[in-house]
Amino acid sequence: MHSLFTEPFLTALLFGAITAGVPLLFVGLGEQISEKAGVLNIGIEGMMLFGAYAGFVAAFYTGSFALGFVVGGLGGMAVAGLMALLCVRLGMNQIVIGIGLTLGAEGLTALLHHFQFARSYPRLEKAPVLEIPGISEIPVLGPALFHHNLIVYLIVAATFAIGWLYKHSDIGLNLEAAGSKPGALDAAGVSVVATRVGAVLATGFLAGMGGAYLANVGAGLFVPFMTNGAGFIGIVLAMLARGKPYWVLLGALIFGISLAMTTALQVAGLNIPTDVVQMLPFAMVILVLVIFGRHSVLPAALGLPYVRGER
């Protein structure tokens, strides 16, 4: 048994955990921004999926991973734009539109994939890796944590940057106000609609980049429905993180590790049905809610459209 848990294997596990966790970090952070601003973004799954598709197409045709991320982000943002128009600007119901957009993105990407790639199944090269000199030499941790695409370091850095902005910039205040008491924000001279539209677009961009990472770095290809609920896990992360980006980071890491553990247990020959392992994250969330329920506070105006001067 021991022989299996060699250095390279442990490295690969941890590496896999990071690769699985990064897309979740993207969507978790994105969802958090929307929710802070009072928009419950159920459409994030669709944004992620569309970003995955767009990002893959871009990376495949140009050969540039960087461009893949940008276009993936823009793809997610396009779906987010619809959400912003319908839910923020026109005040339609966020849940229903979110579900609708997710269904639409699923259908559209599967359709496009069918006509475009279903005969060729194109795959990308390995994504370029940036080794951080020095620390990437540490056994196990080095190659697992510091042999990633630049985007991984960027998003981790962005996590802290976002946390810092929440506290120290007017953006943070505006988001908080838009989610907590939009009328007060409006009265203070900041457009609630603009704030929320900005938040939703940012969410779409992050989710789209997460999707692009999943497709281009995680899988190296696009297959229909490939996000497979990752967007919804992002919603969970945002809920558990209670407005703190660092908690999203931690949660994404835990989710990634739990996925990687599934493999580890199997490779180790432990005979647990995969469904049981699959249940663990969700069971964990429910347990956390039941135990710490009273502490999970959501923005007061979450899910409510804001119309100036309406009675």
Partner: protein, 364 residues
Amino acid sequence: MSAAPEAARSQGLPPTLMAGRGRAVAAAIARFLLPILLALVVGAVILLLLGTDPLAYYTYVIRRGLFSWLGIQATVTRMAPLLMIAAGLIVAFRAGIWNLGADGQFLLAAVITAALGPALIGSLPDWLTIVICFVVAGLVGAVWSLVPAFLKVRYGINEIISTLMMSFLGISFANVLIKLVFFDPGTTVPQTHTLPVEDRLPRLFGSTIHSGILIALAAVLIVHFVMTRTSFGLKLCVVGANPRAAIHAGLNVGFLTYATFAISAGLVGLGGAVDILGVWGSVRADWNPSFGLLVVPLVFLARFHGLATIAFVMFFAVLQVGGESAAVRLGVPTFYTLVLVALLLIFLALVEYLDYRRQVRTRS
């Protein structure tokens, strides 16, 4: 926390069905037809881009889904579980509870039904087996909604997220049950025992439509009646629209919230039973039709109205059944139906918004 559903009620515009019955009804119908038309048009553009003749596609879908005997039977059969789920969602949404956990509730109830039915059918009369299956399926659905209900009543936790979580949990749990507990050792793929075709819900008038559709239609109509015409329904609506007002009015908010969850999830569970007893006879591991999230937009498009819901579910079933057939004959994958539903939602939103603007302008 119930804020979200409350918003759903108010932002869909003022209930125009209230005044000027005749003209308002005509306007309401126009409000439904216009988005459908627009969605079909944009859908047609997408079809054109993909190299398919949209007119041929639409006529084919409607012919296969609606105007052929086989098609209409398939459509009506498909409607049965969708309508049961819709009934459950109407209760919840009218009562201001966003039950997004229908998939888990449906699947667990289906698995239990498929485990129970074949086991009982030998020793009990058919009708009793079916009744027991229904009762247990309803209970299973209800039980699965207890945790979100508890979290909502006790801590005020947003049920949108908790029901979603329970849904994912339920889907995996249903698989575990099939693989570890209720599997039929005689089959190579993990699945439950099978209820023989002749022991399933009786079929109607020699067609392939099973009688579950009657139960489903009745469920939607009863739910509509209860929610709009009874004191119980009104109490649920009050709790949903303003829980503090409900407390102030002396309503037992905790109990009514539990009741909403239980009735909603119970009806969804019955949907699982209807589908298993009417069509499938067994459940195979990893089967998940994901009806729950599909029905949400339909119920919403229908503005939670029972009759409109039946119409929209039928519309969707025609699209699905005809679309599956068209997938084989015309090479347009069934995913296209999803795109159409999304387009429909978007245009409904836009049309409603424009209509609202028009009303505001004309009234002032």
